[in-house]
Symmetry: C2
Subunit: 338 residues, 2 copies
């Protein structure tokens, strides 16, 4: 049985969605869940859902005395708040008591703690935060790095390509993932100093490198893995979030502006739900931090119970994938060949 630790004190509305998501995941996937955080608050939420400890679906509670907030300075909190729910989650994985953990807390602190407590997979220079985007057709698209490393050397991006490709293959079950380099035109000469320097390195790797892709390919399905530095990736992610929010709001306003469109809205409500589900990031279950020795999934601070549930699913799939061993082996092969 797979065991996933859930940081119950991470998100904006913690521990409400965390506890509900954990219950849903325990029921749906049959994983063992360890909820980490303030014991009283967690038990209150479990009671609210009528969930009995020691029942059919095993959920355990581990008490944490501290909590890292969104306002905390990431590096400082990682060093000083060693009794935090985030630290305890990472230690549960490092000691083998859990197979992976998820947190919807302060992203910077979460990355710092994961690197500090779990360490890096041998051969990896810098772990990378990876976002999974829905594509119009077919399988989801992995984009990395989306915020762990803002100023990147070419060799780091080559490793991102390798890690992303393995994740796509082993966890997202894409047979032969095509790897693209995020740039500003498809032709090889179009790009900046970094993309021009990383291109020959990517060509040397044992992966299906398809060359430059553009911003629109985050959704097109032309590539299964898209690599970029963490600054560009983070901007891209937040542009997409911002636009999706604005479009939804505008569409709602436009639709309710007239009576006939109000009727139209009512009639098309089920279609809207379907659409929301297909574009909803929470369905895709958080961002895996690739390259750390263990499984760490970082969720959006605004994650609801459904997003938490899906992150637990993704953590379970990642934990059973043998992914980190593959990264270690492929990096070793590449180093020996190079």
């Amino acid at each position: 049985m797979i065991t996933i630790a859930v940081d119950a004190m991470g998100g904006d509305k913690a521990p409400v969605p965390e506890v509900e998501g954990a219950i849903l995941a325990a029921r749906q996937y049959g994983h063992r869940i360890i909820l980490v955080g303030d014991r009283d608050e967690i038990h209150q939420r479990l009671d609210h859902h009528g969930f009995m400890a020691g029942g059919e679906h095993p959920i355990e509670v581990v008490h944490a005395t501290e909590r890292i907030t969104m306002e905390d300075h990431a590096a400082k909190a990682a060093r000083s708040k060693k009794g935090s729910s985030m630290h305890l989650c990472a230690h549960l994985v490092a000691s083998g008591k859990a197979d992976g953990y998820i947190s919807a807390g302060n992203t910077g602190a979460c990355m710092a703690i994961a690197k500090m407590v779990l360490g890096k997979v041998p051969g990896v220079d810098r772990p990378a935060l990876s976002a999974v985007f829905p594509s119009h057709k077919g399988s989801p698209i992995v984009v990395l790095d989306v915020g762990a490393n803002v100023d990147c050397e070419p060799a780091m991006l080559a490793q991102f390509g390798l890690m992303g490709q393995i994740y796509s293959r082993l966890v997202l079950k894409v047979k032969n993932p095509r790897v693209g380099l995020l740039s500003i035109g498809e032709e090889e000469h179009k790009g900046n100093a970094l993309t021009r320097d990383v291109t020959p390195l990517l060509k040397d790797l044992a992966l299906d490198f398809i060359g430059n892709v553009e911003g629109r390919d985050l959704f097109s399905g032309h590539a299964d893995v898209i690599i970029c530095d963490g600054f560009v990736g983070n901007v891209a992610l937040k542009v997409a979030e911002g636009l999706a929010e604005m479009m939804s709001r505008m569409l709602k306003e436009s639709l309710s502006a007239t009576i006939s469109s109000k009727i139209g809205y009512a009639l098309s409500r089920s279609a809207f739900k379907d659409f929301k589900k297909r574009t909803d990031y929470s369905e895709h279950g958080g961002a895996p931090l690739l390259g750390v020795k263990g499984v760490c999934i970082i969720c959006h601070g605004r994650s609801d119970a459904n997003a938490i549930k899906n992150a637990v699913r993704v953590a379970g799939e990642f934990a059973s994938s043998n992914m980190n061993q593959r990264i270690e082996e492929e990096l070793r092969e590449f180093a020996q060949a190079g």
Copy 2:
């Protein structure tokens, strides 16, 4: 009377939307238009619309013997195809025969030719391509650079801030434009080497610098001017385009999946049109190239007649704004103060 030259051979479907857009603009704004390109093709399209040369709305045709395509290498075409419609447009502005020009052709070639033929406004190091985004509430948002300069020095971004602020004030009529620096978090320490180095420069300028903004602020309205290097800006622009396309397609599919939602779609059609208009880039009329000595508006290759018409409007507003003189003066003041 304002005269705008229109490159009739630029876009993907040239000269069809160019000629139609020019006619619409001549009628709606009363500008004099010079259509530049293959004389026969242009006259054929003018005839198609029953447009009489020498009629009430003055449209002139200037023949060009060459044409730059999307497949042309930008710098090479700029140097070798000196008889192209793009070159002739720039020369019409340089010689004072037109007050500005627009082109929906090869963006790279268009920027190279504008810089070559028009030259730079005194004090400007690098002209910047500027996109105008619709915001949920209030005035449109200028983002620059979106592709003219991929590897930027801090001083270049500071100039972008100044130019963008003047454009927002004089052309978009925003009273006190707030200038934001595109980064990966609002706190000053969040960013990469470039954003950290440019922050003190922006603080020294005589503008309302509000610090870092994030990708979502391209649509939020928190800033009126957003500055970034041309690589990041171009990626952001294309992420937004790609997502908007995917969402529209998905929504249509979801809505037509059931009979009741088909009825819903029919009833809400007018609302959809309103929504489309509010999010349609073509309504905002192309991307001005700021910092060249003259007025040059670059349109998307897929521009329709409406987009061309709006680009002519924007070129006219830019030409009557005294914008380039303001840039020169403010840069001189800054250089003297620094």
